[in-house]
Point group: C2
Chain length 283, copies 2
Amino acid sequence: MRRIRLTMAYDGTNYSGWQIQPNAPTIEGQLDRAIFELTGERVHVIGASRTDAGVHAMGNIAVFDTESRIPADRFSQALNGHLPEDVTVTMSSEVAPDFHPRHCDTIKTYEYRILNSRRMIPQFGRYSWQIPRKLDIQAMREAAAYLVGEHDFKSFCCVRTDVESTVRQVTGIEVFEEKHGLIDDGLFKSADYKRAREADPDYFDPTMLVIRVSGTGFLYNMVRIITGTLVAVGRHSIKPSDVKTMLEACDRTSAKETAPAQGLTLMNIAYLDELDDKDSDDT
Amino acid sequence: MRRIRLTMAYDGTNYSGWQIQPNAPTIEGQLDRAIFELTGERVHVIGASRTDAGVHAMGNIAVFDTESRIPADRFSQALNGHLPEDVTVTMSSEVAPDFHPRHCDTIKTYEYRILNSRRMIPQFGRYSWQIPRKLDIQAMREAAAYLVGEHDFKSFCCVRTDVESTVRQVTGIEVFEEKHGLIDDGLFKSADYKRAREADPDYFDPTMLVIRVSGTGFLYNMVRIITGTLVAVGRHSIKPSDVKTMLEACDRTSAKETAPAQGLTLMNIAYLDELDDKDSDDT
């Protein structure tokens, strides 16, 4: 019996999240079915992060045990033959039989994308939250600084969480603009367009904002509530320092709205005892 | 009676192309319906480019005539209230009553996106052609140079085209890599990942290639056949100079496969007599 670890990328749009449910398409359901089709074994994979409905991933982690003799690194390609186009295994390897993807020290990194634009761009609808009014990025960065570090994030988790402790460590939050070819307006050169642009510059100046949040663990909906709160700061509905007060309140009603699922991507889960510090370029 | 011009952006995935058809969702069908809902007038918009099923647009153009008293620049917002999320009007203005979007001198710009990666990335499936083997960009650029200028593009159009002349002017073809946050692997730092990457660097080095083609007019499927042919060059199935021979053959069977629809976006249509050369930054 071997334990196989899979790195998963998926477009969560058409799924009711990671966790298997009766009568709803889920990532775990797809994966369990694909493993059964490939090996004949009925398994339930263990996921590192049980992402919500509509949330995407570039690097979620799942493990399962198998008697199959398929080489560990071949599982990715073999399973992709049994998975739909919106769910894919990026990498597969054998891990220790007691490796549990949730019972390890990790740093998870999420990215939340905001299309900050009054102009709608249909191609980004599945992967971002569109916010028409220009957000104040500097204020968002100032607010984010209050959240970095070890804090009780009770105000920043969904009320239905019943975990014992709501203390978590956020190791970093970056707020930055991302370039994207489709929203580079350099191609538009007509006088018509220029007149419209001069009359209403904001409309023709879309930007993609990314909020990248890393931490050793996250409570239910925490990244989306952090995002909703930073957006409230960016809109000047609240001040950056209000975020400090919210943290101290330890009450979900003090923080702001939960940002919608489609903007969120689980980018990476780093297992700390596997980090190769010797040649890591960020140390 | 006024003639209104609309600039349209859409995600073509769920549509059978621009042109209205019975029993199939089309962009024109959505627009005609939205105009009827807004003004009560039954119109058929005239499109500048009748994009194919699955092709996207950032700047297609449509016109229609109306007796409505809605201010010309308000049509965009008003129509968006009647359009689905994947079809949107970016800009609206009044044009001369005899303005016909296809009977003007224009430069159209298309971009074709290729995810050049053996690793599948589900988030790009709707908007790119995934090609596993690394393409030789320099060879593609060399081949593209043969296509720029005025040529008979009979070899590069779909055989069912019955236009009188197949001579067209391609004003430029650029082949370049586009950065994208989701495919920046800087976040992956585990020893596991590094080992896998060292063993198989190509797998972990996805790039987004863009082929940007501009011209005064295009034959049916021409950009997708140009793309398919440049990809054949990038794969070293043919030499760059073979493209010259293909052009001279004036025979569709001499050029290569038609690239799939989902990678193509009509970026912009510039009406030459509206170009404001005085402050254009590319002149």
